[in-house]
Every structure is written in C-alpha cells, then in structure tokens.
C-alpha cells in the first residue's frame, strides 16, 4: 500500500475512537444549535423592537459576538472566568467550571449572534401586504407571527440557515482547546501517538464531510417539503429518464404550460 498517504490498518483500528469523537462533536453541535436558536428569538425581537434601549442592546450583542473569534471567546470563558472569585464561588460555576459548559456557552452565543441576523432578515422579507391581510382578518399579532410570518420567514431564510449550520459544524473543532475530545481532538491524539500525519486527519475529514452532507441533505429535504406549493409550477414536466416524453407529448406539454400562462 505504498504510494497511498493512508495507512489502512491504522484507519481501521482508529475508527472506533474516531466515531466516539464524532459523537462528541454531534452533541456539541446539537446543544449549541438548540441554545443558540432559542437565544436568537428574544434577541431578534429586541433588535426589531421600536424601543431604543432593547434594540441597541441587541445590536451590541450581535456586533460583539459576530466579531469575536470563537477561539478567543472560548479561552476567555474557560480560562478567564476562573480568575473572577465572585463567579468561582457563585452558582454559575457549575456551568463555567466545566469545559462542556464553557464550550456550549461560547458556541451558543456565537451561533445566536448569526441567527439573530438571519432571523431578522427573513422576518423583514415577509411582504407587508400579507401581514396586513392577516390583520384585516382580525388575526392577533401572536397568531400572525406563528401562522403567517414564521412559516414564510423559514422559507426565506432556510438557505442562509443551512450555510450557517454547515460552517458552524466545521467551526466546532475549536472545542478541543478546552480539553473536549471531539472528532478533531481524537484525530490529533492518534497523530501524536503514531506520528502518521495523514491517516487520522483524513479519516476525521471524511467523517466531518459525511456529517455535514447528511445535514445538508436533511436541509434539502426540508426545503423541498416547504416549497411543495411551488413544486408543480417550477418543476412541472419532470424529465424521468426511463420515461422520456416523445416529441408529441412534449409539444402537448408545452401547449399545456402555455395555455396555463395565457
């Protein structure tokens, strides 16, 4: 197997450990996405509020946490907060005393800052007239948000959300600096034991790739389900390979499409 940068035996032997690392990465991602999103809603409402003070606070939050590199944020939370006596003796130490607590807090804050902007953009994209139509029907503001604004905003923002999630997943590799043995940390550990510079890193990369693409496929399916109302207008004559339309059928189809437009 010379010539290949990968040692297949090592790859096979380290797979179980890498999978444990992947599981840790999945947990870190899931928890931070959950808390980040939950945090993004109130911050977004504050950001869009007509009241100056909450809007300013929310904007400051977004500017700060979008600008701050996660790595530095993690160092600050994990190593910096321990220097503050009041915090170390307070109840929040349960959270900030553990690597996991710090990692989830730092990542969630970062994700929340990005999600606030995505959410705001999507909500602003909902046409004013459609909101007015709901108001004219006497629907309450709360129900307009739940049944009209959010369903539309999700459709407008799905692509941006998907991009954020995908780059966020890859960014979670930084948690290894606070002693969490995620996928990247496991790969690095194997490198330090074997001095094989390629095998563990490439295997980890393959697992990240698989994870990210699974998420992407999930988003695609979700998006397609949401867009089912556009389905047969934009993708009307789906060319199925086993059933290629004959010229006559094709012409009839074109005729039908035309007829509908006219």
């Amino acid at each position: 197997m010379t010539g290949l940068p990968i040692d297949l035996t090592l790859a096979r032997d380290s797979l179980p450990a890498l999978l444990v690392g992947l599981r840790t990465t999945v947990f870190v991602v899931a928890l931070s996405l959950l808390f980040g999103l939950a945090l993004a809603f109130p911050i977004c409402f504050a950001r869009m509020s007509k009241l100056r003070f909450p809007a300013l606070m929310a904007e400051t939050f977004v500017v700060f946490f979008r600008g701050a590199p996660v790595l530095i944020l993690l160092y600050l939370v994990y190593y910096g907060f321990g220097q503050i006596d009041a915090l170390r003796n307070g109840p929040l130490w349960i959270l900030f005393g553990s690597a996991w607590g710090c990692a989830i807090v730092a990542l969630s804050l970062n994700h929340a800052a990005y999600m606030t902007e995505i959410l705001r953009g999507s909500l602003l994209a909902v046409p004013r007239g459609i909101v007015e139509a709901s108001e004219a029907l006497g629907v309450s503001q709360r129900n307009i948000f739940l049944h009209v604004k959010m369903p539309l905003a999700i459709r407008y923002g799905l692509k941006a959300y998907q991009n954020e999630v995908v780059s966020f997943i890859k960014g979670t590799a930084v948690v290894s600096v606070v002693t969490i043995t995620d996928l990247a940390a496991v790969a690095n550990g194997i490198f330090e034991e074997t001095y094989d510079p390629f095998t563990p890193i490439l295997c980890a990369a393959a697992l990240y790739w698989a994870f990210v693409n699974l998420v992407r496929i999930g988003f695609d399916l979700w998006g397609r389900w949401l867009d089912r109302h556009k389905m047969d207008r934009e993708r009307a004559p789906v060319p199925v390979l086993q059933n290629v339309p004959t010229r006559g059928r094709l012409l009839r189809q074109i005729g039908r499409v035309r007829g509908r437009v006219l």
């Binding site: 007239g129 459609i130 629907v139 309450s140 049944h147 459709r155 949401l226 109302h229 556009k230 207008r233």
Partner: protein, 204 residues
C-alpha cells in the same frame, strides 16, 4: 389625536342603522394630504361605490376604516365602535369588517382552502372540519370548488381575487370592503359578481 387621547371624547351620536360613519377624516403622508376632511355615512344593507382617479385616496380611505392606517384627524365609527388609538378597538372593528385587497395578498404558503380556513380557525376557534365546511361553502359560491387544493401561485389573477373574496366572507363580516373589487375579473365575472353582491345584505 393627542388632545383626543388625553380626554375621552363624547360618544358620537350615530344612528343605529348607520354601519360606517366618518366625520372630517384626515390622513397625511408627510406634507401630502391623502384624505382631506372626508364625511361619509353608510347605512346598514347599503352598498356604495367610491370612484376617483388613481392616487386620489380610495385605498387610503378603506385602509383607515379597518385601522390598517391610523387617521390623523376626524372620527371613524364602525358598527358603533369608534376607532381610537387603543389597540383593542381596532381588533373589535376588524371582527366586523372584511376586506379584499387591491393586490389580493393571499398567503402564498397555503392553498386556496387553507387560505380561507386560517382566520376562522384562529379567531373563532373552529375545528378543522368546521372550518373546511365553511371555507368550501364560500369557495363554491365563487365557483372555485375545483381549485381548492391549488396554491395562490398557480391560480390566475381572477381566481386569486375570488379566493380573497371567499377568505373575507369566511369571517362572516357584517361589513365588506372591496378595494377595486373586479380589477382582475373578466367582464362576465364582474357582472356576475355585482349581481350576487346585490343579493347580499352588505354595506360598501
């Protein structure tokens, strides 16, 4: 308005058979006066048509009547409820007033049937089945029974407008406001609509 909010105004004497009463209604956009002292009284069961050139304020007037636009002066009383700056009154008025928009504004993510079912389910707490029966009744009335599962993007302009009409009727409002009611309908449908509106006991 500020003088009015600081001291509750005396209730306007509106006869019981008047559905909509406007006195001296003003609406300004910046320096532009879109509505300049409009007086109007529409009786129950009365149908009126407001005509005017483009940009003369027809849409603005209609939008003031159901509180989509706050009037800057004068008073508006709808079914005995005066529109004030309190949110509650706007909500009360909207339960009485249905509206069909110039640009329809259907919910793009819901099909024709669901467009009509949303408000009855949310506002009046109807079950899915009840709301569906109600929506079907009104969609049949505008001859859309064959298109109820279609999404707005797949309906023609006239069909969209008829869905918008059915959607407004599903709230069974006592007053119906139409902004350009037949702009997207062909002449045959226009006459058919005006004929059927003549049979309905509705104002405006």
């Amino acid at each position: 308005m500020s003088a009015l909010t600081s001291m509750p105004p005396a209730p306007l004497a509106v006869p019981a058979d008047v559905a909509i009463a406007l006195t001296g209604v003003e609406k300004r956009y910046g320096t532009h006066r879109a509505l300049a002292g409009i007086d109007l009284a529409v009786g129950r069961g009365e149908r009126i048509v407001i005509c005017g050139p483009s940009g003369s304020g027809k849409s603005t007037l209609i939008r003031c009547i159901n509180g989509l636009e706050r009037h800057d002066g004068g008073r508006i009383v709808v079914n005995g409820i005066e529109l004030t700056s309190e949110d509650g009154t706007v909500q009360d008025v909207r339960q009485e007033v249905g509206m069909v928009f110039q640009h329809f504004n259907l919910f793009p993510h819901l099909n024709a049937l669901e467009n009509c079912m949303l408000a009855p389910r949310l506002n009046r707490g109807l079950s899915r089945a009840q709301a569906e029966t109600l929506a079907m009744k009104h969609l049949e009335r505008v001859h859309l029974a064959d298109h109820v599962r279609k999404y707005p993007g797949r309906l023609s302009g006239g069909q969209q407008q008829r869905v918008a009409i059915a959607r407004a009727l599903c709230m069974e409002p006592r007053i119906l406001l139409f902004d350009e009611p037949t702009s997207a309908l062909d002449p045959e449908w226009s006459t058919r609509c005006s004929a059927s509106w003549r049979n309905w006991r509705r104002a405006v």
